[in-house]
Amino acid sequence: MLIESLLAENFRKYETLEINDIPENGAITVSGANESGKTSIGEAICFALFGRTFFLDEKNITKLVYWGKEKAEVTLQFDAGEHGKFELYRSVDKGGVIEAKLSKNSGDTENSKFIADLSDIKRALNKVIGFDYDAFANSFYLVQRELTSPEPQSETIKKMAGIGDYASISDELLINTHENEAKIQATEPEALKAESSLNEINLDESWLPDLVDADQTLETEGMSRQSLMSQLAQKEEQHSHNVKPYHSARKSRGFFGFLSFLLFPVFVVSLLLWVILKYSPEVLDEPIIGIFGLDELSSIQGIMSQWLLPVAILSGIGFLISLLIKKKSVATMYDLNEDAKDFSDSLTQSQKTVTSNIESILPERVVSLMRNSEDDSSSLIDIPSVDQFSNLEKLTENTVDYEANLEELGAAVSRLNDSCDKQKEELKQLADNLSVDIEKEKSRSKDAGILRSTLKSLNGVIKDCQTTINTNQTATAMLQRAGEDSINLFNKNITTSSADSLPKFTEGRYSEVRIAEDFSVQVYSDRKKDYMDFDEISSGTQRQVMLALRLAMSEELARNTGNEQQFIFLDEPFAFFDPARTRATLKSLPDVSDVISQVWIVAQEFPDVEIDKSIVCTTENTTLAV
């Protein structure tokens, strides 16, 4: 942070104070006699930034108002490096009302954005410049007082070392860890309870599907028996009706088969004889004469020529009709045989069904459940004996040819129907019982699902909490190590930096500063070739050492707050310095640090050395414009 300009009105002894063209690098001296307003310049800067000064806190801040005026106002323009350039205005009236406005200079004065709320300005400044009043007063703002170093465990030192936020973050993480531990403690019993309930349910995932499959099997078996019963009744009736037509067709087939067998040769012979008689009658003469004698030849030929053709025609027609009727009878028998076979198959199927063991098609556990819930007389488990249907095989064979005894057949069908019906009822009963078990299992499954979901959710909470705890603990340990590392680096940098500046301030008499962890200081005397305790050296040298330390610490603070270039305001740093060391220190101050580049120095008078800007205050004037 570098100051670009300072404007104050009615502030302390000044009606108007205006300092412009402030160089970014180098020494800016503020000189003047007592009560000439030198310190007021530092106070104006401090008031603009933090709303207070070193000597006047917020309660007494009205004392800054120029005598007889209503309001003191300060406008500070500064460069905050990469954050940009800002204008900070702050005023306080005699009633103690403070107003402020922080504007970001964007080059567009009409549309420049600003913050006017005091707490927002404080937060924004902390972000922009990186330090608060305490850190400022212990580093970049050396007031007219004893030079001292900050307390080793102070927030300022932590801020300087770059670990200002570590402790608060660690505390925050610890609180968060405790909260998560408490959450785990509260959640674990719930998770255990859910797990215990889940174990009590002891759900077998394959049980419900088995039950549902068994239920479907029972339903199918029941429907199968129902279908068989209706088929048997229908086919038996059909069979009874078919017996007569079948036997008639068989008789017809036999009769007309025989008739056609007789008529065919008659037809062939009579037709052949008629053809011969018509076209070569002489061929027959000799056989006729041989059988009947010559006298009967003409009468026989006459009879033959009269009857042979009609006989041939009639026998041919008779043959064809017999053949057709026989064919029709065969077709009828074939159709009836098919029905009979179908009936026979149904009988066989029914027998197989009622005598097959239902256990073989159901899961073992379901059978066991059925055995537990059914009485011993179940026709499904204790199936009908095959002996009951001993004549069924013979009946089935005879059924195909309609040779089976209808009474026996009816009795067999009745037995089969009875068995089917009984089994169907028992299957229904079993299915009803199974439905109850299925509903129970569904309910258990639903309960287990809810518990599993709850358990998963609770375990998720525990896992998340544990992950957060692990992360927090790792982060806390990391911050601890980073803090130690930063402190070591801080001490090392302070020592190195002081070793660079101290010889310049002491004209080479002391070359090195050693800083312990508790910030106790030892100084290496080149003359004595040994380290000396801080209280062994003169008060003037002590102040030179402390000034070197102050600059080194300020440099560290600037680095750790992201300020690549920083101003420092040193009010009367040369008290107790002899003229030679004052001159040496003044000459070297602008060059001791790359970071602390804009060095404001206040003194009553300065030795004749080259400086970058000189501000001279006078006791009489209430206006100062530089």
């Binding site: 972000k127 200002g164 936020d165 982060a475 990391m478 190590r481 930063s486 707050t561």
Partner: protein, 68 residues
């Protein structure tokens, strides 16, 4: 050195002040910590992100001025 231990996503040069210093520390610290038996890279990296998030004020200066 494995790519995971290089923490390529962590770029100190884009950070400032104490946050930058912490990021630089982590680049070296992870190499030492990874030698330990109970080192968990995922937890370690999550911890870095957690600390960086807390070190770096979530509200940017631009947002502060834009809010008005």
């Amino acid at each position: 050195m494995s790519a995971e231990l290089e923490l390529r996503w962590l770029k100190p040069e884009k950070l400032h002040g104490a946050t930058k210093r912490f990021a630089e520390f982590c680049k070296g610290d992870i190499l030492e910590q990874s030698m330990l038996e109970d080192f968990d890279n995922e937890t370690y990296q999550n911890s870095i992100k957690l600390v960086l998030e807390k070190l770096d004020d979530s509200v940017s200066i631009k947002e502060m001025f834009d809010a008005d």
